[in-house]
């Protein structure tokens, strides 16, 4: 389990004292600049601040880089696409921390890439792909790094706005695969802007505003009042056949 111990980065995120739990998909919600990326970067060990962050009871800075790479994976918002690399070579880089591509890793890659619609992209040069296709490859690469079926040390998967450049179909497939990975025991945290998708797929939702965690809990914690308070948008909750959707009124 990853635990924030009064973790704070002055000017970016206030003290946070809670954690991402194994077996749960946590969705981070909040307007631009609310601290979602800083929180994820702190959880990955990319950003240090006051307080601390522990994984399985041990501070992140006490881990060797290679050991940490076997336990957590993260995908940030900015991607650099290597020149001339093909899809399958990029995916294989995700397996580097766990000893490279073995037969078991190949099976895990097939399981992960099939639902993300990546099979047709294996032979193509990544720089020639569309933004959404590149994003799906990078998501799959991060998933391979901490796939519980091939990595028994895997604990945490962090994705910063992974759905930003994806079409609707692929947004849903990514969230379904993330849900599956969390069911296999991984703690998964993802920052997301679609409140309805977060409520539908997330086991736990964290709502941030100006660096402060203003709400945390199951989907029921998200209300029209909270949305107006955090995003400044008036909404109405529509219910049909047991499903709930927030509709903007403005």
């Amino acid at each position: 389990m990853l635990v924030f111990e009064r973790f704070a980065v002055p000017g970016r995120i206030g003290p946070v004292s809670c954690g991402f739990q194994p077996g749960r998909l946590t969705c981070l919600l909040g307007p631009n600049g609310s601290g979602k990326s800083s929180l994820l970067a702190g959880a990955a060990g990319l950003l240090s601040g006051e307080g601390g962050v522990s994984l399985d009871g041990r501070r992140l800075e006490r881990y060797e880089l290679a050991e940490l790479a076997r336990r957590r994976a993260m995908l940030g918002q900015q991607q650099t696409m290597p020149l001339g690399l093909r899809g399958f070579e990029l995916l294989a880089l995700g397996a580097e921390p766990i000893g490279g591509v073995t037969e078991a890793v190949c099976l895990a890659i097939a399981d992960l890439t099939e639902p993300l619609g990546l099979s047709g992209l294996f032979e193509r040069t990544v720089s020639s792909l569309s933004g959404g296709e590149q994003q799906r490859l990078m998501i799959a690469k991060a998933m391979i790094q901490v796939s519980p079926s091939v990595n028994d040390q895997a604990r945490l998967l962090l994705l910063d706005e992974p759905l930003a450049s994806l079409d609707w179909q692929h947004q849903l497939s990514v969230l379904r695969v993330l849900q599956q990975l969390s069911r296999q025991g991984l703690a998964v945290a993802v920052s997301i802007h679609d409140i309805n998708l977060a409520c539908h797929y997330g086991d736990e939702l964290w709502c941030l505003k100006q660096g402060q965690l203003v709400a945390r809990g199951g989907p029921e914690v998200i209300t029209s009042v909270l949305i107006e308070q955090v995003f400044g948008v008036r909404t109405r909750l529509l219910e049909q056949d047991g499903s709930q959707v927030f509709m903007p009124l403005d």
């Binding site: 020149l83 001339g84 093909r86 580097e96 099979s119 790094q145």
Partner: protein
């Protein structure tokens, strides 16, 4: 599912590496054979005359080895710089590293001549290294702090090159006849100085070259960007300065031993990337082999091109490389 394309790619890369080894051996044999005094291929097994022995051991062999070493180093430095700066157009000559090294060495030479000092050869190598180091540090700082974008970094290199050439032209203009020839060597490149090198000069660059050529797996991660490489377990804070140091040492060695020879670092990795893909663990050793082969063949062209002497090797590589550079620049600008 993934194992098959990976295996096929590895087999293909192996075939390419063996092909490049054969091409390098062939070009080296051609370089040993051709020249004003032709050595027949039977020289490999028959007893050599004293003159032939002198030509082989004191002229052809050192020159051929220097061509291979300099070509391999420049191509490898180009491939590594393209990852470090995240710019496919980066290479030691174009981004000003060679110019910095050349300017520092020529200035040291001019200062020595002015003060009537006899400078040891290593002082020029040291000056070339410091010049290369200063320009590389400036480039990395500008790239990391994002003060200059990829296109502007190239312009920075071009500006450094123009400035260095301007200063060297001044020094050339003021130099006496004895220094003139040496200055031209630094500015236009030549492999004719290979025979002056003792064994001790070869060992450090060969060691650095072999070390750098084995960093492909780490560079594959670094090519994803610094934070992704860190997240995949690579200690980028330790690796990056080592890579910069190695590139500086090799570029300085090349400039100190053969003057400024441009475009190899651009042409060779780019063509290999187009033909066999961009995996760094393949690209680095392949660039070394192809770079050595390319410069050896360019040197043969420089030696055999005109009957009345020898063309500057820098002019030969620039004639081949500049059109490709322009093509890449236009293609990149057009977003193709």
């Amino acid at each position: 599912m993934l194992a098959l394309p990976l295996q096929q790619q590895q087999d293909r890369q192996k075939r390419w590496l063996w092909g490049l080894v054969l091409a390098l051996l062939f070009s080296a044999a051609l370089s040993l054979h051709l020249g004003a005094f032709e050595l027949g291929l039977d020289a490999l097994w028959r007893e050599l005359s004293p003159l032939e022995r002198q030509v082989f051991w004191q002229l052809r062999l050192p020159r051929t080895l220097l061509a291979i070493l300099v070509g391999a180093s420049l191509a490898l430095c180009g491939a590594v710089l393209q990852v470090l700066l995240h710019n496919p157009l980066a290479e030691p000559g174009l981004i000003g590293i060679s110019s910095g090294a050349s300017l520092a060495a020529v200035s040291t030479l001019a200062l020595g001549a002015n003060l009537e000092l006899v400078l040891p050869y290593w002082s020029l190598s040291l000056a070339a290294f410091l010049g290369a180091w200063l320009v590389t540090l400036a480039l990395l700082t500008l790239a990391r702090r994002q003060w200059l974008g990829p296109g502007q970094l190239l312009l920075f290199g071009v500006a450094v090159g123009i400035f260095a050439n301007a200063i060297m032209t001044w020094l050339l203009y003021l130099a006496d006849d004895a220094s003139l020839r040496t200055f031209l060597f630094w500015m236009m490149g030549s492999l004719g100085y290979g025979q002056q090198l003792s064994l001790w000069f070869w060992l450090p660059p060969v060691a650095v070259l072999l070390w750098l050529g084995r960093q492909g797996a780490k560079l594959d991660l670094l090519a994803l960007g610094e934070s992704q490489a860190h997240l995949l377990g690579l200690n980028t804070r330790r690796l990056r300065p080592l890579l910069v140091l190695a590139v500086c040492l090799l570029t300085a060695f090349c400039v100190a031993m053969a003057g400024v020879i441009g475009f190899i670092g651009l042409v060779v990795p780019h063509l290999l990337r187009l033909l066999v893909g961009g995996q760094q663990r393949f690209l680095l050793p392949a660039s070394m082999l192809a770079g050595g082969c390319f410069l050896t063949l360019a040197d043969i062209a420089a030696r055999q091109g005109i009957s009345s002497g020898e063309l500057p090797i820098g002019a030969v590589t620039a004639t081949l490389g500049a059109p490709l550079f322009l093509y890449l620049l236009v293609r990149r600008h057009a977003g193709v």
